[in-house]
């Protein structure tokens, strides 16, 4: 596996991951959360893990939002959600997406999707670190599996 320091220095053993295809939309933040997601995505790819980020909502089972949801991005998010087939879930990552964070509602921003829609995964932080994001996804998978 590539020496990605996400699991560094000792290499924390990962729990069993279930397959999950995630479509990510940066809906108007500073892209800090997106950078951490990019780190996570690289580590997952390098480790051949079954959680992966995909480039179209048509392939995805999870819509993962970062950013404070600008009025320009709201219809884009809606279209992506509609384009997702079958059972789908919403995840909000970072303070911006959870409740607007530092970018609360104004003329250009709706202030986070977390307060407007029911999300399966909601992870605050500005930004949360990649291992925290992964832990949140795994936690959700585990509780989902028990149901």
């Amino acid at each position: 596996m590539a020496r990605l320091h996400l699991f560094w220095p000792e290499g924390t053993p990962l729990p069993r991951l279930e397959a999950l295809d995630i479509f990510h939309i940066e809906s108007g933040g500073c892209t800090g959360c997106a950078l951490e997601l990019a780190s996570l995505s690289r580590a997952l790819l390098a480790g051949n893990h079954p959680i992966r980020f995909v480039s179209t909502p048509r392939q995805a089972g999870m819509l993962l939002l970062t950013g404070s949801l600008t009025v320009g991005m709201a219809p884009v998010v809606e279209l992506a959600w509609q384009a997702m087939p079958g059972p789908r879930v919403l995840a909000v990552v970072g303070d911006c997406a959870v409740d607007g964070g530092l970018f609360g509602g104004n003329y250009a921003v709706l202030g986070g999707v977390g307060v407007r829609a029911r999300s399966s995964v909601s992870l605050p932080g500005c930004p949360p670190a990649p291992d925290e994001i992964l832990a949140a996804l795994v936690r959700w998978q585990t509780t989902e599996g028990e149901r």
Partner: protein, 467 residues
């Protein structure tokens, strides 16, 4: 001729509290426009505070700002003589409702979804809104050729800020490009108004994560200039170090993405691995992987980073360099793609690494990646042997200040005016706005598959361009 235009600006009637800013009468502004026609004095930014419009020019040793009062009809446009003024003029119209006489007034940020028109103006009007979004009209060449119109963004499943490009492909190559911005606009100028500088600094740090240190530094410099207080040597030294760490991380991110896009797994993996080490180093030094809220630095900020970690990174940088230049490596694969010529860079006021790449070679993706690689090496050397820093004296001090810093994608600027210790007006000039305006020229002739790579190599970030 540049000297003459600069002299003309300096003759501006009223001296202002901001060093290097001069207020021109309407006739002098017109004379400046006429003078600009014959010179290449680069325009770096254009903004308004509702009462005046300010134009920032690159001029040694200190930048020059020419201001003109806004009349009921607007202000004479700079875009006929400086193409880079087009975007800012349209933004000023979107935010303030102030038209540029002789310029274009189509929306740049406002796609018709804001609940109010001219959100920064004293009297804001409600807008009916355009729920269908904006209409694109294909260019004649594309229509005649019966070609395809393809969209790029705002949601590609990647990890970058949203914007949209409408691309016209009469054949296999892109011919027409219409950028549509505003998706990432968060209304920062409205948010900063009335905030205490410390609160404002937290927002400024979150303008654009890959360039957060540069934004924090430029804002801090503007604040020091506005308050007439010198920046202590320790803060200057911390700024240099943190800036170098940010540059290394952001450049590595670009190289990792470029490697992955071009199918060069070895380069991509090495760059990604180095990037993670940098993030780890940032966490060790500042307690956070991304360098938010680090300026002014904590009193305990270390002056040196771990030497062993630096030595490892330096060795890996040498390997990355070898991989880059190997036969069929990144350099060979990216050659000729996404050319930003030196002339175009100068015309649009593009500075920093992108401009250096344009002057160095033909200005393609390879040149830009090479410049980034070089800057990683230089920044690592700087971290290993930090230069002596001295106090940065304040310029001005009359409650108004301008500050700058070089971010990973180029020079960026912050200007602010204080009233009773709070931010009364603020502007930020991010290199991404000029890059967004350059995209039609850069992408013309490119293949659709290369759009992502070209945008990444430029370091363009819609969140910095839209604010």
């Amino acid at each position: 001729m540049s000297v003459e235009v600069a002299a003309l600006i300096r003759q501006g009637a009223a001296p202002t509290p901001c060093a290097g800013r001069f207020v021109l009468e309407a006739e002098a502004w017109q004379a400046m426009i006429a003078g600009l026609r014959a010179t290449d004095l680069p325009l770096l930014g254009l903004w308004s505070d509702g009462v005046q419009v300010h134009a920032l020019f690159h001029h040694d040793p200190i930048p020059l700002v020419a201001s003109v009062a806004v009349s009921p009809d607007g202000y004479p446009a700079l875009s006929p003589v400086r193409v880079g003024a087009q975007g800012p003029e349209r933004i000023i119209h979107d935010l303030w409702g102030i038209p540029a006489i002789g310029g274009r007034c189509e929306p740049w940020l406002d796609q018709g979804r804001w609940p109010v028109a001219t959100p920064l103006a004293a009297h804001r009007a409600p807008t009916p809104g355009l729920p269908e979004g904006r209409e694109f009209i294909d260019d004649a060449a594309v229509r005649q050729a019966g070609g395809t119109g393809l969209g790029y963004g705002p949601a590609e499943g990647n990890f970058r800020a949203p914007f949209h490009l409408r691309l016209g492909l009469p054949g296999a190559r892109i011919e027409a490009v219409q950028p549509c911005m505003g998706y990432a606009h968060r209304g920062l100028a409205a948010r900063l108004r009335g905030l205490a500088p410390q609160q404002a600094a937290r927002l400024v740090a979150r303008i654009d994560a890959p360039a957060t240190v540069a934004h924090q530094l430029a804002f801090a410099r503007a604040l020091h200039n506005a308050t007439g207080t010198a920046m202590p040597a320790q803060d200057v030294a911390a700024g240099v170090m943190l800036g170098a760490m940010e540059r290394i991380a952001t450049h590595l991110d670009v190289l990792a993405q470029a490697g992955a896009m071009l199918g060069d797994g070895r380069s991509a993996t090495l760059a990604a691995s180095m990037l993670e080490q940098m993030r780890q180093m940032c966490r060790n030094v500042c307690g956070r992987r991304l360098l938010f809220d680090v300026i002014p630095p904590a009193a305990t900020f270390p002056v040196r980073v771990d030497g062993a970690q630096l030595a490892t990174l330096a060795a890996e940088h040498a390997s990355l360099h070898r991989l880059f230049w190997r036969p069929r490596g990144l350099a060979a694969q990216a050659r000729g793609k996404g050319v930003l010529s030196a002339t175009m860079a100068a015309r649009l006021g593009i500075m920093g690494g992108n401009a250096r790449a344009a002057r160095k070679g033909q200005g393609d993706v390879t040149d830009r990646l090479e410049v980034r690689l070089g800057e990683i090496g230089a920044s690592l050397a700087l971290l290993a042997a930090p230069p002596e820093s001295t106090v940065m004296e304040a310029e001005g001090g009359g409650e108004e200040g301008l500050g700058w810093a070089e971010g990973p994608a180029g020079l960026l600027w912050h200007w602010l005016r204080l009233e009773a210790g709070h931010v009364a007006a603020w502007w930020c000039g991010d290199p991404s706005l000029a890059l967004a305006q350059a995209l039609p020229a850069i992408l013309s002739g490119a293949a659709y598959e290369d759009v992502d790579l070209i945008v990444v190599s430029l370091g363009m970030s819609a969140t910095g361009a839209d604010l």
